[in-house]
Symmetry: C2
Subunit: 470 residues, 2 copies
């Protein structure tokens, strides 16, 4: 979590990272430590993290990281992409790692330490000050995809009965310490139960002898510490908050989730959907271990293999027909490709609709009707165009074959559109993730129905379009 | 934009919207206006918007909206999904619309008005107070996907030379007006040029006679008013800010973009990628007009049609072979389906990687190598499994056919994986959107290469696996 404004950066808005990278690498090569440090010192940790991520060699990345000013090392380590974080953590000496972790906020430190081996975790936690390691251990108890895993324990809580003047004095004191003084301040009773919240603005505008109890908001939205992070993100989106307090089942204040952590959640959840659609893991990235990728992708490929045998089974049922009219084999993959594309368009639009707007599935009738129309229009146009091409390029002109292919395309594209819309709606209705594996399910339906329809119709029309065997 | 904490809601964290919807609809049916208003009055506008979105009939939606307390109507109208907003705007009388728009912040009002017909825009703007309509007109000059289109003009700017005490007095005054008093306060010179920023916290902690010039941060990150919204979002993400000032080319302060607007941008951009992949429009939703959907989808379907003819061309080149060995026609779509799935897995993971981490494309060699390995492992496993099935189910057992299909699957799945990774990397390199139409390009490559390899290998092996003609 990082919410401080303004670092001492050059005047221009966007830093020229390319030039900076060149300068940094030159300084590193020339062993000009002072120059390297003076290049890095004025930068925002976000820029340093970006700079390090751009460097292609891991030896150079760690060398640059070692010259990051001590007080920024923790933030930089938190902000680099996860794969690079892992590498840096591996390359740092235990002492260096302890130093960097000490500069991190407890929630970021907990995220980092959770990924280590148990023995490394233990060693690291033993070497940082008790108070900090206790805070980190507390946070590590919550799964990382819950409110507890997102929250920071560094918030400001005031006891009921504090005056605005006293509150400002308290804030002045904690401002010097590590506490993240944030936009909201919370008011608790003697047993740490959440009573209310007030913004810094309210505090600024209150008279100094006024009790915080009198200027606070008493009905504060809060989330339970075990709430799933997607639900937390939805609450943020619905209300536009900057921070939400996190409580246990007894309404005791445990921490605060801030909006910047939520941005990551929203981005992750959204992009996961694409990967889940095609049966890659939502948690897979370009730098994941090969074994993870195989574990995530292979099961869906196997499912797809089984369903592909289904489709092959449909085709084999018509082997004699294809043997007599081999042109059908040419257009089988054609149909599959077009129906697949039309279906995926519907799938992508509807999954997004269902994910963004939780009320959307209540309009299922309208959504299916819409995709039926679209499938009908696009299917007719593509079917007609393809039919025309087939007619003019078949030698001799074969109008029945043209009609067969056109009609089959129209029907399979309509089926594909409706299936693409129906799959996520149905999955949501029966309580499944609307994205997971949906492309595999879709292709199965479009292939089985599409091949069946195409070849079935071909069998009916065979007397009229068949070419004599060679 | 909505950043106020705490509305007077029931104690529980999550409202039971289902019960509330039933109660609201019952009150509406029974014409119990007082009951209806008492149900809606204590709710947060985000909850009312969600409630309205859940109601399936548009007549009921507008009836409920008419009972929303006047001061919340603008926020509710801003927070409902866009399609419902359009409907409500159409159903409201001009007077009702003017009333609602007057309660909206200028940036939200500008977004809403931009979507209206020019004549309606003019009428609406003429009927709201001059000061407000000027602010809205100002904002409407900027494209909606730029910093100017995202910013609010309601920020607090202090003149250089103001003391902290005076600043607090100024904030007290504007707190009662419509200004969104936000976490940061900006300091400008007499010509409105941005000099610095300070947080409310800094102000709270300053002594009252201290000049804001002395406690402000002087090197503030700002964005130019014409900066693309994606770039603005990246700046927010990189630095973890809550708000960024927006300036013109002369560094004059024009407005402020806040983090809640950025959440929408990030979410939209991310989910657009999925749709662009399959050639649906990034701007298409489940409630878009049919004509928009057709205009977006049909061109890509046509592109796909052309490429599908390419693939069909490859197959037709082998017609004689298929005629002699019709079992090949059964396994053609099988190969296409498996390669398509493997390729899309790689595509989804790499697109996400390239979009999330702009430095990723510099590691292209590693990314391609990784997908080559994955394609090799998954292709071998699926190829071997499929080969075994083919062997045991072919009658009589046909080991050459099994090897042919297994080898073809392995080769096409490897090609598909590498292509899936290469397409977004190449598109980004040549300055294209890495997602747009990528699935169509991928299927073309996998089908053409896959069919060519499969049938080419089959021709080579034909003497050994061919079954005698019936």
């Amino acid at each position: 979590m990082y919410v401080q404004a303004g670092f001492n950066v050059p005047e221009e808005t966007t830093l020229n990272l390319e030039q900076l990278e060149d300068a940094v690498l030159a300084a590193l090569e020339g062993d000009e430590t002072a120059r390297l440090e003076s290049l890095l010192a004025p930068l925002h940790p976000g820029d340093i993290a970006e700079l390090i991520a751009r460097i292609p060699l891991s030896e150079l990345r760690i060398a640059v990281f070692r010259h990051v000013p001590d007080e920024l090392a923790g933030d930089v380590l938190d902000l680099v992409p996860e794969v690079i974080q892992d590498e840096l953590v591996e390359d740092l000496t235990p002492t260096e790692l302890v130093e960097a972790v000490q500069e991190m906020s407890p929630d970021d430190a907990a995220d980092l330490i959770t990924d280590l081996e148990p023995a490394e975790q233990k060693e690291l936690l033993e070497n940082i000050p008790q108070e900090q390691s206790d805070a980190i251990r507390d946070l590590m108890r919550y799964p990382s995809d819950t409110a507890g895993g997102l929250m920071t324990p560094q918030f400001t809580a005031l006891q009921a009965g504090t005056t605005a003047g006293q509150a400002i004095d308290i804030l002045r004191r904690v401002a010097d310490s590590d506490h993240e003084v944030f936009y909201y301040v919370y008011v608790v009773d003697a047993r740490n139960k959440l009573l209310g919240a007030l913004s810094l603005r309210d505090l600024l505008l209150a008279r100094s002898h006024q009790l915080v109890d009198d200027c606070m908001i008493t009905n504060v939205y809060s989330v339970d510490v075990m709430t799933d992070q997607e639900e937390v993100a939805r609450t943020f989106k619905r209300y536009g908050y900057l921070a939400l307090p996190v409580v246990d089942t007894e309404n005791r204040l445990l921490g605060v989730v801030t909006v910047d952590d939520i941005i990551e959640v929203i981005q992750d959840e959204d992009s996961e959907d694409v990967q889940k659609m095609v049966g890659a893991g939502g948690d897979e990235g370009i730098d994941s271990a090969l074994t993870l990728s195989i574990r995530r992708r292979l099961p869906w490929l196997k499912v797809n293999m089984v369903t592909a045998f289904l489709a092959a089974g449909v085709v084999s049922f018509f082997q004699d027909l294809i043997e007599r009219n081999v042109v059908l084999a040419v257009f089988l993959p054609f149909c599959a490709m077009m129906a697949g594309n039309a279906g995926q368009q519907a799938l992508a639009v509807v999954i997004r609709g269902v994910v963004l707007d939780t009320a959307a599935s209540r309009r299922w009738f309208r959504i299916l009707g819409r995709e039926l129309c679209l499938g009908c229009v696009n299917g007719s146009i593509i079917g007609a165009l393809t039919g025309l091409v087939v007619y003019f390029f078949s030698n001799p002109h074969n109008p029945v074959l043209a009609v067969l292919i056109g009609a089959a395309l129209m029907a399979t594209m309509m089926t594909a559109s409706v299936s693409g819309a129906g799959i996520p709606l149905l999955m949501r209705r029966i309580g499944f993730d609307p994205a997971q594996g949906s492309t595999v399910i879709l292709t199965t339906i479009t292939d089985v129905v599409g091949f069946g329809f195409f070849l079935g119709l071909a069998r009916l029309l065979e007397p009229w379009f068949a070419s004599p065997a060679p």
